[in-house]
Amino acid sequence: MNLIGQALTVVRKDLLLEWRGKGRLISVLMFGVVTLLLFSFAVGPDSTLLRAAAGGFLVLALLLSSTLGLSESFRVEQEQRAIEGLLLLPVDPIALYYGKTLSNTLFLMLLAPVLTPVALILYSVQLDLKGLAVLLGLWTLAAAGLSAPGTLYAAMTSRLQSQDVLLPLLLFPLVIPVLMGAVKSITLILTGDPMSQVGSWAALLASFAIIYWSLCGLLFPHAIEEGI
């Protein structure tokens, strides 16, 4: 079977697992909502302050939920060492990586359509439909950028003690460009975009995604050379 076929088989398996454990998506979403709420409590009831930081908080909530989703995606692989069962099969590690990354990207993409409206309401920010569409597009780029290194690191940490701490620890500093790009561009969208800077931030997000999709695909086979 060719690479693409194998990768799609991995995606299919992940979607099946996701479907079986529907709870995971829903609870990651609820986690995101609760995080959005927490931010407003942390800042206090002052709504101007909240509104100024709304874009940042939305992106942070998305990032935190994404990290949880990523580390969950390997939890199920390790439970009865199913991942070893996959590694023993003649599956190209590259197919494995891109399959897993793709299904993680799909998963992360689902977060924004739910969390954005909640953030808009909680932080009393307005956004028209066009703005929303642009925002979702940006998040798709960001999600792709997050899941490329995220999947690599989640695989590498999945069998270590305290993966849930290690993964964000490794990932957060790495994805600061994604964070900043997303925060900046989303804040621009929320506050109106007079200078049309969104484009260049989107370019940053896209290049991050492209670089890490290629780089991590090259590195992953080495990471799993001795199993995970």
């Binding site: 709870g23 829903i26 609820m30 609760v34 709420l37 009831p45 002052d46 709504s47 309401i121 009393s124």
Partner: protein, 233 residues
């Protein structure tokens, strides 16, 4: 499948009837409010929803204690039903409140004590149901639902106080508290109407839960005839 007429269907019908009457009075008979105008009439469902949500959560708490005590499936069903109906009322409350807020304050949301408390309450009990959905074993599910319900409910007063103190440096949202008698009547009627409907929904939901359990309940297999061996115990 023929179903005999159950007492709770009666209550449900009564509730619908009352809701119709109360809303009629509220919408067409009661005077409109001086400052807010016609939007204010949303109050006749808003306030009853709020009262009943609280009441139903309290029921969930009581059922949870009994469920933990007795380990009887019916109390688990009652706890779940109450928690779910509470969530429904709570969500309605939030939606109505947001619409009202949008119309009067110009924003969908504000960090007022009651608003904030209602939202947290919703999340607390939604968490209970999320936990429940992950537990497959029926008896453990019952225990854990009960525990989480108790833990969540005990938190509500604490949340209320802390949100009040949290707000205290800022102005408190003004709400009209001088109320015309013609506003009180539909409010009362609708409060009972929604209470009855809530009871009806709870009994339905509890029945459904028990039915589901019964479906899973396969009776013990036939006792196999032991072969050979005498009982040499």
């Amino acid at each position: 499948m023929t179903r005999q007429f159950k007492w709770d269907s009666g209550i449900g019908l009564l509730g619908l009837l009352l809701l119709f009457v109360g809303s009629y009075i509220g919408l067409f008979v009661a005077p409109s409010e001086r400052y807010m105008g016609e939007v204010q009439r949303i109050m006749y469902v808003h306030v009853p929803c709020a009262w009943n949500a609280m009441l139903v959560y309290m029921l969930a708490f009581i059922f949870a204690i009994i469920s933990l005590w007795t380990h009887r499936p019916k109390w688990d069903a009652a706890t779940t039903a109450a928690a779910e109906v509470g969530i429904v009322l709570n969500s309605l409350l939030l939606v109505q409140g947001s619409i009202w807020a949008r119309a009067t304050w110009g924003v969908w949301w504000d960090w007022d004590v009651r608003l904030t408390t209602s939202l947290i309450m919703l999340l607390l009990f939604a968490g209970v149901l999320a936990l429940r959905s992950f537990v497959h074993d029926a008896s453990r599910r019952a225990t854990w639902t009960a525990i989480a319900t108790i833990v969540a409910f005990v938190d509500v007063p604490l949340v209320y106080f802390c949100v009040r103190w949290w707000r205290s440096l800022h102005q408190v949202q003004s709400t009209p508290d001088t109320v015309a008698p013609m506003m009180v009547v539909p409010l009362r009627i609708n409060a009972f109407a929604i209470l009855f409907i809530a009871i009806w929904m709870m009994t339905q939901r509890a029945r459904l839960e028990l039915d589901r359990r019964r479906q899973d309940q396969v009776s013990e297999p036939e006792r196999l005839a032991p072969i050979g061996g005498s009982n040499n115990a």
